[in-house]
């Protein structure tokens, strides 16, 4: 996953868009499970096991809720397990539908977790800056204002408390206070932005020939990467939608795709795995290259020590 970072930010953006699409487009248990496993794997690679377990723990109640709501309001499915309350049937079908919908949602969340740490605001700007320079500039300015405003807000609220001392406030007073704080914050940051505007003027801002500079540039290597995974993605879409992906939860769990062409099916699953495993493969390649270099160095050292190579 880290090696994907060496490419232009647009490459990682496109990659994430494609895996997100895969994770959201179907409830097919095979697809959902594969996407879930890999998204979890990448979260572990980027943030460690702790982060994944933490997200899992926080997600569990939500998953339970999704399963419950689906089973309670949806009485489809024929394999009845038991009845709830006034004859609401809980079936294998509606239970498993709930579980896999929940899992698909969680997968999307996990992808975003990885994606967030992959792309900094700079890189997002690099993507937008070229095409939409005004949006790029505004985004950067907003990103600068957010920490500034938080800091000012904290200062104002501390100052309020510090000036008025140890008095206890009633709820209505608190509300009044919050409103007052907001007024102060607004007028203060307004005043400050006047100065920022002056500085923009001083650096020649409203200018016809303004360009958008970005430290990343999109080269042939990036293009090759995009073309290769887009190719896999398209291949996958074709094979999957011709039939392999078809899966019905109701009335029985049936995977229609299984009965269609075996080649189509294996093509679809192989391309899916290929796409998901791609970042890990890139990492692995790099690791191999790295190891070879190290090995070579060791070998050289060994030769020098044992007197096979002599520098004069």
């Amino acid at each position: 996953m880290r090696s994907l970072r060496d490419y232009h930010p647009l490459v990682s953006l496109l990659y994430f868009i494609s895996v997100l699409t895969l994770s959201m487009m179907t409830r097919n248990p095979i697809w959902v499970t594969l996407c879930f496993v890999f998204s979890g794997f990448y979260v572990v690679r980027l943030h460690g096991v702790k982060r994944l377990l933490k997200s899992l723990l926080t997600f569990m109640p939500m998953l339970a809720l999704i399963v419950f709501i689906n089973s309670y309001f949806n009485s489809l499915g024929l394999t009845v397990l038991f009845y709830l309350g006034e004859g609401k049937p809980i079936t294998v079908e509606n239970l498993s539908y709930g579980v896999f919908s929940g899992l698909a949602l969680f997968t999307v969340f996990l992808w975003f977790t990885s994606y967030n740490s992959m792309l900094s605001s700079d890189e997002i700007l690099a993507i937008f800056g070229k095409r939409l320079p005004t949006i790029g500039l505004s985004l950067s300015m907003i990103l600068k204002y957010i920490p500034d405003t938080i800091e000012q807000g904290t200062e104002i609220s501390l100052n309020q408390k510090a000036m008025l001392g140890q008095e206890k406030l009633s709820n209505s007073q608190k509300a009044k206070f919050a409103a007052r704080m907001l007024t102060v914050l607004l007028s203060w940051s307004m005043e400050n932005s006047l100065e920022t505007a002056d500085c923009m003027l001083a650096k020649g801002y409203p200018s016809k020939n303004r360009i958008s500079y970005s430290r990343n540039c999109f080269n042939k290597r990036d293009l090759r990467m995009v073309l290769s995974f887009c190719g896999i993605f398209i291949l996958h879409m074709i094979t999957a939608f011709i039939g392999a992906i078809k899966f019905n939860y109701y009335p029985y769990l049936t995977w229609n795709g299984l009965e269609s062409n075996r080649i189509l099916l294996s093509g679809a699953i192989c391309s899916l795995i290929l796409l998901l495993v791609l970042p890990a493969m890139l990492d692995l390649f790099q690791w191999f290259i790295w190891r070879r270099i190290l090995k070579q160095e060791k070998e050289m050292e060994h030769r020098i020590k044992s007197g096979i190579i002599i520098y004069e």
């Binding site: 700079d122 600068k144 510090a162 008025l164 001083a202 650096k203 200018s207 500079y213 970005s214």
Partner: protein, 572 residues
């Protein structure tokens, strides 16, 4: 010598703001800014410094009625929106447009439509020149105030200006950051020959580097010439602004009969003082050798305190004054992942005293005040306040307490809550001399006026203990003096705790001083002792006179000493 090319020339220039009624902000300015010279512009708040500086940068020139001429050299300006003049302002944070350091550096070049390869090279070049490669990838929000201001300097220098205009660039910085900034500025001047125009309140460490000094008084050029010329002029005319001169110059004027070659730096001042006192008085010379031994010196000071008035004062403050507030073993951090800001910090505050807390940037001084005011609660430890005592605090930025559109409304906001009578309010307004400002918008005031308005507001909450965070930050000498007098008057009614970077101000106003270092409050001691025991973290006057004249901590001590000396000499 070749006559240098003039970049900008003011000819009989006058300027009046639209709201200025009949009083002009600038009157008959005749001034030349030459290529590669360093000009220092000084004068009191409201003397027209900013107005003049903004006329040097056509993009920022204020609107109003202008007379006379400003002539720009052909090659520094193409049109109104494209000049080779850069402008750095006071507030480090507000000047930054983009969110990351490299993008902020690129911003000006992007506007000019410079090719990406060229931008890349210029960023590399400037980062190298300023030695800021290590923070090129940082977010702007991660930088300290001083670093932000260096970034502002860099993002202007990257445009390769012919003239760099700076409007009080160090007013918001602490002394260390100020020193770094000025060193960088002088380095730029020496290495690139960029012309510099700089306005400043604090003339220390500046004058000796100036090629030209301009003193503005009420919109007129009152003096123009060399730095020592300005010192002479102000001292001879006994101008109130002379207090802004470096201590060395003021001391020099007391010693020297004619004022040529007046000392401007501490070193020059010390040379002059030691020469004078070796000639005049051999006694102090003999004691010099012994005094160089630091431990002996400290012994001597301690001995002296046992016998002097100061020791009585000290005993008084520790034994007889009533303790009204105590912080016990305070621990504090802002969030669980942060480092500790305070650890086992103790502090005691007595009745009717002024305690000054000093310390480096980010050492936790402001945090200490917030804890004392109970706006923050400590992780461990407690703050004990005598019952029936009210604590109130004013933060660094008076803007944080301005919620209304006029000064009068700001001051009266809590009138009901604290049951202020009309008499109380008018008394405070009169004392702080705010009567003429009541209808103004608080944001339109000068720094000193804003500080006074905020002070009036906090005083109306009737505190017994008043905590002030940097009350004189960015103020000129006269405003500082005024605040000092106000604080000393307030001492009769309450205790004050002041956090400040300004060592000289602390020495002038405080009864006791303390430092925050390594998360703790250390070296709490009466003011004279505090400064005499330090050799580096001490007042300018003490650094000037150490080992030459004893016990001069503030300038008044020195002038008194010299006065007495003169009397002795004349009687002999």
């Amino acid at each position: 010598m070749n006559k240098q090319q003039s970049l900008i020339e003011f000819r009989d220039f006058s300027f009046t703001y639209p709201t200025g009624e009949n009083s002009a902000a600038l009157k008959n300015i005749n001034l030349v800014f030459e290529q590669g010279t360093l000009t220092i512009l000084c004068g009191m708040s409201g003397s027209g410094k900013t107005t003049l500086l903004r006329h040097l940068k056509p993009e920022l020139s204020p609107k109003g009625k202008a007379d006379g001429q400003i002539k720009f050299a052909e090659d520094i300006i193409n049109n109104r929106h494209n000049s080779k003049i850069s402008f750095v302002m006071q507030n480090p944070s507000n000047q930054i447009v983009m969110d990351s350091v490299w993008h902020e550096l690129a911003f000006g070049l992007e506007n000019k439509g410079v090719m990406p390869e060229e931008i890349e090279r210029r960023i590399a070049e400037i980062a190298n020149f300023f030695g800021i490669e290590s923070w090129i990838d940082k977010r702007v929000a991660e930088l300290s105030g001083g670093e932000k201001q260096i970034l502002n300097l860099a993002s202007n220098m990257i445009l390769q200006p012919d003239l760099l205009v700076l409007d009080e660039p160090t007013a918001q910085l602490d002394p260390i950051a100020r020193r770094d900034f000025l060193q960088m500025l002088f380095y730029i001047h020496a290495e690139t020959g960029t012309g510099i125009v700089l306005s400043e309140h604090n003339l220390d460490d500046l004058l000796e580097n100036a090629d030209q000094v301009v003193f503005l008084d009420q919109g007129r050029i009152d003096f123009r010439g060399t730095a020592s010329g300005l010192a002479n002029y102000l001292l001879l005319n006994n101008h109130p602004y002379q207090k802004a001169l470096p201590v060395a110059a003021r001391a020099g004027s007391l010693i020297m009969e004619d004022s040529d070659g007046i000392p401007l730096s501490i070193k020059q001042g010390r040379d002059l003082l030691s020469k004078t006192f070796i000639e005049r008085d051999n006694g102090s010379l003999t004691s010099l050798g012994a005094e160089q031994d630091k431990s002996l010196l400290i012994n001597k000071i301690e001995e002296k305190y046992k016998n002097s008035d100061n020791s009585e004062l000290r005993a008084e403050s520790e034994k007889y004054a009533t303790k009204i507030m105590q912080a016990e073993r305070l621990w504090f951090r802002y969030s669980p992942d942060d480092n500790l800001v305070l650890k086992e910090a103790d502090l005691q505050i007595f009745d009717n005293e002024i305690l000054a807390i000093m310390g480096g940037n980010g050492s936790g001084k402001s945090t200490m005040l917030y804890l004392l005011s109970k706006a923050l609660s400590p992780l461990k430890g407690k703050v004990i306040i005598s019952s029936d005592k009210r604590v109130a605090m004013l933060g660094q930025n008076p803007e944080a307490v301005f919620a209304q559109d006029t000064v009068a409304q700001v001051i009266r906001e809590f009138q009901k809550r604290f049951e202020n009578t009309e008499q109380e309010i008018t008394d405070i307004i009169d004392r702080l001399d705010l009567g003429h400002l009541l209808k103004r918008h608080p944001y339109d005031l000068s720094g000193g006026e804003k500080q006074k308005v905020a002070l009036a507001k906090v005083l109306l909450t009737k505190p017994d203990i008043l905590l002030l965070d940097e009350p004189v930050k960015g103020l000129d000498v006269l405003n500082k003096d005024e605040i000092k007098q106000i604080l000393q008057e307030l001492k009769a009614k309450m205790s004050l705790v002041i956090v400040t970077h300004d060592i000289d101000f602390a020495a002038e106003v405080a009864d006791r001083c303390a430092m925050i270092f390594n998360n703790r409050v250390i070296a709490v001691s009466p003011m004279p002792e505090f400064f005499q025991k330090n050799s580096y973290f001490t007042t300018t006057t003490y650094r000037l006179t150490r080992n030459i004249i004893d016990d001069c901590i503030v300038f008044e001590d020195l002038s008194e000493h010299l006065h007495n000396k003169d009397k002795e000499d004349s009687t002999n």
